[in-house]
């Protein structure tokens, strides 16, 4: 009993909660709003997977989300990143997002220590299902047919504890997943102030899901000197021009979210609204910001007068004029276009066009985690630069071929982009035939393919093949050099679909034939054919003999 009670006594950690809202007017008149809710469990460490067989210590949290914390402890997750996004992030017009993970659909990647007690894949499956239940998403479908381990692109964002065993990466994405209120509801329930007060009160589903791009994310990482950090993020790109009757891009919290901040979240240590100041001087911000820092106007929600309704107006503008695409300077070092060419249902060609906007040579890592629905012919990989063949510009880092019905492709390559040039990369792909039962209910729609991920590596001499699992120091070093990921839009592949009524026709026809043959033979064996004279006195010789089938029972009557 005493043993039991000592085990269940959990440590109580110091916790802090911070919330930030970043508002950034974009070049095409839209407004990016990025919510970030960070809870740090100070001094805590992720659960040692070596203790998975022992009953875990009890968890006592005040601000830290318990439902998420229990899941993390149950499966001994060191680092977790889950995003649910809808829409296509337009890097050329919007630049980098505040939160890096903007791949369309669901994406989940985790680092877990492999102690050998419970297999990584079992824990990965359990985690997927637990998160699926927690966030009302179809994450349970992120099975081994979509799971890869692309450790070149997905580096740990925090530090990894110094355990005697390796850390393994598991990554999977589901591009067809949609995001709606049922995902936001559990998201809000994880926040200490829910959606009632503070910045989170602006999260109005009717407005957020009306935006041109929206996505939510859960990021858990371990920071060596601080503890376990959970960051819940929500990003939305709304279009004030669409809401405005006059076609102006003026916005306010009330016009974008249909709400204003009325109360402060009392447990938040900091609650800050940051507004990126646009280049035009004509923009007027009200109320007066608390301060300026790094090109952002700062508002402290706790000090500000309530209700806090920040607004920005371009007074000299009577109507917003959309800028020409050519007039916007590139906001990211590279631009990527990925398309699937070919009209037949058996093969095609994957084409990737990468533009380097910078005046120096750059290395870019290129990742494809393709389900076996599209299979690469790697020998047909061709690279041209400004029209001429330059196959030397690509070096394949790793390639795991797909196993149909079982395993996806993992293709990691390192591209060298000459300055201010365009690289064309293409390769033949095969579209396999699916089993009849593997098609989704809306098979004719096609299959969504996950986004490719590009990471510009600024320092060309830095080799990024360091082992991420060797310890905290290496990943810290890498973080300084790591550039931000760029997700391409998803692709839609049209696979050959059968005539779904055909199996039914075959089944029905064959069943009919079998029944006919069996029935007639069976009847011949078990029944006797006799002549029953219905009317002896009949004058018509044609009707007096009626052939009839009669079983033994019938005859006895």
């Amino acid at each position: 009993m005493s043993l039991c009670s000592t085990q269940t006594l959990g440590k109580v950690f110091d916790e802090t909660f911070q919330e930030t809202l970043t508002l950034r007017p974009l070049s095409d008149g839209r407004l990016l709003s990025a919510f970030s809710f960070t809870t740090v469990l100070k001094g805590a460490t992720p659960r040692d997977p070596g203790t998975l067989e022992v009953e875990d210590e009890a968890q006592h949290y005040t601000l830290f989300p318990l439902a998420l914390g229990q899941t993390l402890r149950e499966y001994a997750v060191t680092e977790l990143h889950m995003t649910l996004n809808a829409g296509k992030w337009n890097y050329d017009r919007w630049g980098y997002p505040e939160e890096i993970g903007v791949g369309t659909g669901a994406e989940l990647w985790v680092y877990m220590g492999d102690s050998g007690k419970v297999s990584i894949d079992d824990r990965w499956q359990g985690l997927r299902n637990a998160l699926a239940g927690l966030f009302c998403a179809s994450l349970g479908s992120l099975d081994e047919q979509r799971t890869t381990s692309p450790s070149l692109t997905f580096r740990p964002e925090g530090s990894l504890p110094q355990w005697p065993f390796r850390h393994e990466l598991r990554h999977a994405s589901l591009p067809s997943e949609n995001v709606c209120t049922e995902n936001l509801t559990p998201f809000l329930k994880l926040l200490p102030c829910k959606g009632i007060s503070g910045i989170a009160s602006l999260l109005n589903p009717h407005r957020l899901f009306d935006s041109d791009w929206h996505g939510l994310g859960v990021h858990v990482r371990y920071l060596h000197n601080q503890g376990v950090e959970v960051r819940l993020s929500f990003q939305a790109v709304s279009d004030p021009v669409r809401y405005s009757m006059q076609g102006k891009r003026d916005w306010s919290l009330a016009s974008v979210f249909d709400r204003a901040i009325h109360t402060t979240c009392p447990v938040a240590s900091t609650s800050v609204v940051r507004v990126a100041l646009p280049a035009e001087k004509s923009a007027i911000l009200s109320p007066e910001p608390y301060g300026l820092s790094d090109g952002h106007a700062i508002y402290h929600v706790s000090d500000a007068a309530k209700p806090l309704d920040i607004s920005m107006q371009w007074q000299e503008e009577s109507k917003f004029i959309y800028p020409l695409a050519s007039s916007i300077p590139p906001l990211t070092p590279i631009s990527v276009q990925r398309t699937l060419k070919g009209s037949v249902q058996s093969q095609g060609r994957l084409s990737v066009v990468i533009q380097n906007h910078l005046p120096f040579t750059m290395q870019v890592s290129y990742l494809e985690t393709m389900p076996w629905l599209l299979q690469f012919y790697l020998h047909s990989l061709r690279v041209t630069h400004n029209g001429g063949p330059r196959d030397d510009l690509v070096s394949i880092v790793s390639y795991t071929p797909p196993v149909p019905h079982l395993r996806p492709t993992l293709f990691q390559a390192l591209l060298t982009l000459p300055p201010k040039g365009t690289l064309h990369l293409s390769m033949d792909v095969m579209k396999p035939f699916l089993r009849y039962t593997e098609h989704p209910p809306d098979a004719e729609r096609g299959w969504d393919l996950p986004p490719a991920v590009f990471v510009p590596l600024m320092s060309s001499n830095h080799t990024s093949a360091d082992d991420p699992t060797s310890g905290a120091n290496v990943s810290d070093v890498y973080l300084k050099h790591q550039s931000r990921k760029i997700y391409t839009p998803v692709l839609l592949v049209d696979l050959a679909t059968p005539d779904f009524s055909m199996p039914y026709n075959v089944i029905i026809l064959s069943c009919t034939l079998i029944a006919l043959i069996f029935g007639s033979v069976f009847n011949r064996l078990t029944r006797k054919f006799v002549v029953v004279r219905v009317n002896q006195e009949s004058t018509d010789p044609q009707t007096d003999v009626v052939p009839a089938f009669a079983s033994d029972k019938d005859r006895s009557i």
């Binding site: 809808a86 499956q125 359990g126 299902n129 637990a130 699926a132 239940g133 927690l134 009302c136 179809s138 349970g140 479908s141 067809s176 997943e177 949609n178 995001v179 709606c180 209120t181 049922e182 936001l184 509801t185 559990p186 959606g195 109005n204 589903p205 009717h206 407005r207 957020l208 899901f209 009306d210 809401y243 249909d258 989704p440 209910p441 809306d442 069996f518 033979v521 069976f522 064996l525 078990t526």
Partner: protein, 416 residues
């Protein structure tokens, strides 16, 4: 002589008064705990928890009305007190955040009026937004399959499936099952891809009954030829109702010109309208609901099947199924010779197991369940002879086929 008799009578009197005092105390306690439950007003449902399984089986935007049907029921059961943890909501498509939805995050229960057209996104005063801003969908999109539905009902799920996706009911649960979609004679289509038949649901419910997963079931279905779906039920304590008879269609209620689709089906619209007038303490009965059924409103013949249901419908409250009613049960530890005290309501239906026997009620014993209960008892009685004959003739048939095959192969060998 008199003294002893008077003493005896006095002591008897004392004893009886003590007993009666004790009894009255017990009655007081019982009546106190049952004051808020329906047992004193002879509703007689012995359930202690409520569950709801709401299924929209149709995919695609043009089936908006089916999403609205299921969400209408979701709104009702949640409003009447069933928590999200006890609701399994299966929505096979995303109508609320569909790109074609002019009002993102909203699914409306009726066509719009002037209020909604101006209010952007937030809905108007006159049309009910069923999606709201606090909803949890447990199975969505491709996850809504016949297999998952049957697994939810029967509880046969893999161990890693989270609690929110399980029907964790017991033999004191009242389960409300609502289904909607496109159906036909004895089937309901799931996602334009597969069908569930009336036999499947009937067998699943029987399995639930044998595994002690429900006390009573209200089965409601809104689809074409809906009444055929519950025609095959054979398990006890099931009340079933559907929107239309065999060879009848169930019609949608109205079109919304902003959305461009029909918003809700007639049957569910009127049921929802009826439910909107009910609150948690309502004394309305199932009979009251069934009395509102009319062909003129639905354009189809709504049906009720109560032959499996043991309680009178006019004593069965709506909130027995659609409300989250929790009952406290007073169990006073008494000497083993005395029968334990139990609320009156427990006596009313005989098919349910004894409620105070927690050994049998709290832990369903699955190993006792026979796989073929019907087969085991009747197989050898009267049909034995004919079965024997059929098998013998099958054997003869197979022998004949074999003989023919052997001859053919022999002749084939001989011919060249």
């Amino acid at each position: 002589m008199r003294l002893p008799i008077s003493l005896l009578s006095l002591s008897l009197l004392c004893l009886s008064s003590i007993i009666s005092a004790q009894q009255s105390a017990e009655e007081q306690i019982t009546s106190f705990f049952n004051a808020n439950t329906k047992s004193d007003t002879t509703s007689g449902s012995g359930h202690t928890n409520n569950w709801a399984v709401l299924v929209c089986a149709s995919r695609y935007w043009f089936n908006y009305r089916h999403m609205a049907n299921a969400l209408g029921m979701y709104r009702t059961v949640k409003r009447l007190g069933i928590p999200d943890s006890n609701i399994i909501l299966m929505l096979s498509d995303d109508a609320a955040c569909n790109t074609r939805n002019k009002f993102p995050g909203c699914v409306f229960a009726s066509a719009h009026g002037p209020g909604r057209a101006t209010g952007k996104g937030g809905g108007g005063q006159d049309s009910l937004d069923l999606y709201g801003d606090n909803i949890e969908v447990d199975y969505r999109g491709y996850e809504v399959t016949v297999e998952n539905f049957l697994r939810v009902l029967t509880g046969r799920v893999p161990p890693s499936v989270p609690r929110s996706k399980r029907l964790l009911s017991n033999d004191r649960s009242n389960v409300f099952i609502y289904m909607t979609g496109h159906g036909g004679n004895e089937f309901l289509k799931f996602q334009d891809d597969e069908e569930i038949s009336a036999f499947d649901i009937a067998d699943a419910l029987e399995q639930m009954w044998q595994k002690k997963r429900y006390s009573e079931v209200l089965f409601m279905i809104d689809t074409c030829q809906a009444n055929t779906m519950f025609s095959k039920f054979y398990s006890p304590n099931i009340l079933a109702t559907g929107s239309s008879e065999m060879d009848e269609k169930s019609y949608s209620f109205e079109n919304d010109n902003d959305l461009g689709v029909a918003v809700i089906d007639s049957y569910t619209h009127y049921v929802l309208k009826f439910m909107e007038g009910i609150n948690k303490t309502s004394q309305m009965t199932m009979q009251d609901l069934f009395n509102t059924y009319s062909f003129d409103k639905f354009h189809s013949t709504a049906g009720v099947r109560s032959d499996l249901f043991n309680r009178p419908l006019d004593k069965t409250y709506i909130t027995d199924f659609l409300g989250g009613v929790s009952q406290a049960e007073v169990l006073i530890p008494l000497p083993p010779s005395d029968p334990p005290l139990e609320p009156e309501s427990q006596h009313e239906y005989s098919a349910a197991p004894a409620p105070h026997d927690f050994n049998t009620t709290s832990e369903p014993k699955e190993e006792e369940v026979s796989l073929f209960p019907e087969l085991a008892t009747h197989l050898l009685d009267d049909a034995e002879k004919s079965t024997l004959r059929a098998w013998t003739s099958t054997a003869v048939l197979l022998g004949l086929v074999g003989w023919v095959a052997a001859r053919r192969s022999a002749s084939a060998k001989a011919s060249p």
